[in-house]
Amino acid sequence: MGKDGHSRRDFIQTSVRASLFIAIGGLGALGASRATASHTVWQIDPFKCTQCGRCATECVMAESAVKCIHAYDICGYCDLCGGYLKPDANDRATGGENQLCPTAAISRNFIEEPYFEYVIDEALCIGCAKCVKGCTAFGNGSFHLQIRHDRCLDCNECAIARVCPSEAISRISIKKPYLIKGKFEVIPSVEPPKSSSKK
């Protein structure tokens, strides 16, 4: 017992409690910081993307986690689609020689004269951005690339982000994990034609 009434045992008990408190607090803080970190995911800003094609080749996944997305609300449903047809295509038709996509991942469906709907088969898409570049250069820019989170491994350092020439890939909130075009469009877009039974 000391002069001030505190024993060595009290001192040890207080120290142990303080250590436990600090340890629990530290673990909590660590957990909170990890939780915060996991609240972000990698994503491509479609307005910064320059369609360089590296998303297809640089992703650690054998088949890139990047896929082409179609913003239907800004698509023109054109017969002459810059994202579907080669710039020097012989015909506006579905023949393989006319198609821009190297894996035929885009299907062209007739809606009504002279409008067509373009649908992407993500299982076939390799994220090469060929259609995105064609659509952006010659069309409304409705095709754009996005990292699909059902495929993305969420690497600590994204291999594509590291080589992206336009720094279009960054971490964004998991609450809004996709940056879909269309919602950001300033110019009012024309309503797409209604589907008909002739499809």
Partner: protein
């Protein structure tokens, strides 16, 4: 013996280093992979014969930080639409006045002392000093007014949302409407894939752009097709993409000045559709995507409203 051992050790180390360097050089790890073999190359479409460029840029009028929305030229004045305001500047770039508007207009047509402004889905008629004369009836939620032109006591309004041209008198009374069908059996009329739908009047004749067909069409006042020319091509002599020409105006000598989006280029055509030459060649600038709105002065000089750089560029014949 000792030296021989050191020599073997050094050789082994050197061989190991060479092997590591070679493996690294040949490896396929991220950051060292080759170019995408499927990359779309479109650089060829940006190259034009310099002899075809018949105009030179002699002036740029900066408009500040506010995004411009529309342009017209009349009587030595440039009328520039901004967000809920109209700026009037001289062709030299001096600001003459700034008029507040009740809403955001996206197109403007000046005729004599009157201005017609397209406020998304209704037309506003103003005096050129800014006094509001009348706001015409709205065309409904679907309407997107993209261009206005006039001829005598008739005003033509292009509505991209409803894919139609409306004809009014100067008091705002609707006289007629047509959708661009070339004949009664046609399955479609105007093809408007995006909100670009321009028209102009030259020599009392109404010319309407049919952007989805890459065509310029000449109509009677009632909407009967009189003639057209169309040119679909990625090459310089035609119109590329899904909806071009996005903008058009007709010079006093009858030259059609067209402006394209995507592959941004401004060109001059004869009324027959034959390419005369290039006003502004395409540039491989990823920040330049919007078709500049074009207007012409009495001498045939071309004003191009650059939406991407917030400026008016002025071109004259070389």
């Amino acid at each position: 013996m000792k030296n021989k051992g050191i020599g073997i050790f050094v050789v082994v180390i050197v061989v190991l280093i060479v092997v590591v360097v070679v493996i690294d050089a040949l490896s396929n790890r991220t950051g060292k992979r080759g170019d995408n073999p499927y990359k779309l190359e479109i650089d060829q479409y940006y190259k034009v014969d310099p002899a075809m460029i018949l105009y030179k840029e002699i002036r740029q009028i900066k408009l500040g930080d506010v995004k411009p929305l529309g342009l017209d030229y009349s009587n030595d004045r440039l009328y520039v639409l901004l967000n809920k305001s109209l700026k009037i500047v001289s062709p030299r770039g001096e600001e003459l006045s700034n008029i507040n508007l009740p809403d955001t207009a996206r197109c403007i047509h000046v005729s004599g002392d009157l201005m017609y402004l397209g406020f998304t889905n209704y037309v506003g008629q103003f005096h050129i000093d800014g006094r509001q004369i009348k706001l015409w009836e709205t065309l409904g939620e679907k309407a997107v007014i993209t261009s206005i032109a006039s001829k005598g006591d008739q005003v033509f309004v292009a509505d991209a949302g409803n894919r139609s041209v409306l004809r009014y008198d100067t008091h705002g009374q609707l006289l007629g409407e047509f959708g661009g069908k070339r004949n009664i059996d046609d399955l479609h009329g105007f093809v408007i894939p995006s909100a670009y739908f321009d028209l102009d009047v030259y020599d009392d004749e109404l010319w309407v752009v049919n952007p989805g067909m890459h065509a310029l069409e000449n109509y009677t006042d009632e909407g009967v097709l009189r003639g057209f020319w169309e040119k679909t091509s990625m090459k310089i002599e035609g119109f590329s993409g899904c909806c071009n020409p996005a903008q058009m105006t007709i010079a006093p000598d009858g030259t059609f000045i067209t402006s394209e989006k995507g592959l941004v280029r401004i060109k001059a055509y004869k009324a027959s559709g034959e390419l005369i030459g290039i006003v502004s060649p395409p540039t491989n600038d990823s920040e330049e995507t919007h078709a500049p709105e074009v207007a012409v002065d009495e001498s045939g000089g071309v004003f191009a409203l650059d939406f991407d750089r917030n400026m008016i560029r002025y071109f004259v014949k070389k």
